[in-house]
Amino acid sequence: MNRYFFYNFMLVSLMNLMLFVPHILVKNRYSGGVSALIAAPVIGAILMYMFTSAMARYPGLGYPEILKKYCPRWLVSLTSVYFAIMWWFSSTIVVVAYAVLINRFFNPDANTTVILIMMVLAAAYAASRSTLTIAFIIEIGIIVNAPIILFIMFKMVRSPQLNFDSIRVIANYVTVMPTVITLAAATLIFTGYIHLALFNRLFPPNFRFKHLYVYPILGFIILLITFFVPIGFHGTEGVDRYIYLWAVTSDSLIMQYGFIERVIFLFLIVFLNLTLVYTMSGWHLGMEYIKSCFKACKPEIDSPKAPKANYIILAVFATATVLYLIFTNEKINYLITSYWLVLRMFTEIVGVLWVFILSRRRLKPE
């Protein structure tokens, strides 16, 4: 079962490219971006250890169920709705950004809203399945796509175009203290563990987390590649110029003897898959949070038939996402995302501390 935890972690850490993380870090490369790279694994690791050790004490229970044991109902419901909105929004940013990306790189004549509706329908349908199915879909998504991403990353790191002098120039700014926004962006890579809040329901009582040390290391490597490869490709100054930083970076590569010469198409297809999987998982989590507010809904991990509530909640999510696209543009989306990243970091810290303290309190002899 450890691997399901791993997939969630990988999913979020790879998705950072769509969440403007490289963009924010690169923009702040002279003002704290580099030191955030070093601080983030530490913060991420501490939070992850606290969260996993807390959740391991409640096998088979999700975050809302644990809170319900100790806190008043209204507080739990409030928190659940808040978390649901956070999760819905994280997926919305990604799927909206991707719809715009399709419009920019695949077919500029296509209507972004129509593309988004198609993607949203697919993701919403998948999200309405049971939690166990979602875990399996994530597994398939990661197994199919991760090798291709690793291949692209390997090609990039090995490319002669990667200029290590530029990387060194930026790395020298490591002494600048990180700012809130850079920390928020960098810690996102390590935030996949938080999916455990609901996937914990799947885990059997005698479950133990293994090899937790792998996650900070892996996250750190992904973070380094995310940040430094575009700098190596576009230089210390030119890197600031691009809106779709990683799409352009992958376009700078060529696969001489691949089926498709331009790496960008491979990159876009892989990230289309990951975006859909991420949107699905985010909405599923949001949906489960909302459902936990109602007394009637018992958390079920493998119901053969999706309850009607699923469809209603997801329909609201999907509509809200389409509306979000209509009422925002690239610039506003970017701004809101940066605020969301900061809010997410603090929410995460509070949420983890909360459940950690609860789990410790129970241990004390009464």
Binding site: N107, N172, E237, S252
Partner: protein, 363 residues
């Protein structure tokens, strides 16, 4: 029931995308090369030449069919839009892998053209950039007799698939854009000319500051420049040993440089290591002492290399990225300002290490 409802809604969604902006491949004109020139007219400064591929079922040497469209326009984007009125199919830059800038324009300002290329989403970042002499238009009108597909000849000249010329400096759009913006690393582009007949000559490199050509290297300097900037392909080198001419083929070459000292004068030491084989040599060389030959070749190489570095320095450009290295090694707020003062007085030192592998098939 639920399943049918889902299926139905999906089908309904499909209806909305019927006949969206997707055009068939036979309704598109693929631009295989773009030329941008200075027209000389102030109100319409840009002359845009598009080389459009005409698909043909025959693939044989000389069978490539090309249509040209040229227009003068106040800006590049406007020119391309106006050109759409000249053709019957949709213009598609997705396969445009050659961007040629006219020499006259390159001597004025290239930033505007580069920005247009970067901003357009369908122009590949891996497209090759080059300078056309005397104009991009004349270069594009060259029709090599051996060309199999439209625009393929130029591509093969620059890529690693076809010829591997040691005079050829290939630069991609993204690489060029990086150098234009990077402090401490200046751009360079190959110059394409036409020999008056049916082929191209690519044996010179133009060095840029951040916006225009500063100097143009001779073919011999170009070859040296390619070797020193690690843009190496198999090359040959002339030398003299005790009055007899030698020609050697360089099989492998590595070059690297380092900076010494960060107060004036900075010393830039460049190391060039090469493995060579003789192509033309006096008889009996096999039995002689190779060490002295290696030394003689190395000294000659060093002399030429230092002369080239001095010439580049004199023009105030830095295509090797010395400045970037300085910023990397000596970080600080005013590293860049320091460097701009240090570079004009920097001293160069080239250490060439020639290793003779053999004398060919005969002694």
């Amino acid at each position: 029931m639920n399943r049918y409802a889902a299926l139905l809604s999906l089908l309904l969604a499909l209806l909305t995308i019927s006949g969206c902006g997707f055009k068939d491949i036979d309704k598109r004109f693929f631009v295989v090369a773009t030329g941008i020139d200075w027209s000389g007219n102030k109100s319409k400064p840009y002359r845009i030449t598009l080389q459009l591929a005409i698909p043909s079922p025959k693939i044989e040497p000389g069978a490539s069919k090309i249509q040209y469209e040229t227009i003068d326009a106040p800006s590049i984007a406007e020119g391309v839009r106006m050109l759409k009125a000249y053709v019957d199919k949709e213009l598609d830059f997705g396969h445009c892998k050659m961007m040629i800038i006219g020499e006259e324009l390159a001597k004025r300002d290239i930033n505007h053209s580069i920005e247009w290329m970067l901003r357009r989403r369908d122009i590949q970042s891996v497209a090759t950039l080059a300078i056309g002499r005397p104009t991009a238009e004349t270069v594009l009108h060259v029709r090599p007799a051996s060309e199999r597909y439209p625009g393929n000849a130029l591509l093969l000249s620059f890529g690693a698939d076809g010829t591997e010329s040691s005079y050829n400096y290939a630069e991609t759009l993204s690489g060029f854009a990086r150098r234009v913006s990077e402090k401490g690393m200046d751009p360079a582009l190959a110059i394409i000319t036409n020999d008056g007949k049916e082929s191209y000559i690519i044996n010179q490199v133009a060095l840029f500051d951040k916006e225009k050509i500063k100097t143009i290297l001779t073919p011999a300097e170009t070859q040296l420049f390619n070797q020193m900037s690690d843009h190496f392909t198999k090359a040959s080198m002339h030398g003299m040993f005790k009055g007899t001419p030698l020609v050697i083929a360089i099989n492998q070459l590595n070059s690297s440089f380092r900076l010494q000292g960060h107060t004036a004068p900075v010393r830039i030491t460049m190391k060039v290591k090469m493995d060579v084989v003789f192509e033309e040599a006096p008889n009996g060389l096999f039995d002689k002492d190779w060490l002295s030959v290696e030394d003689a070749l190395a000294t000659e190489y060093e002399k030429a290399a230092v002369a080239l570095l001095k010439k580049i320095q004199r023009h105030g450009v830095d295509p090797f990225g010395f400045g970037l290295r300085y910023r990397a090694v000596y970080p600080g707020k005013n590293a860049w300002n320091n460097w701009t003062q240090l570079y004009p007085d920097a001293e160069f030192n080239v250490e060439a290490m020639v290793k003779i592998e053999g004398t060919g098939l005969i002694r």
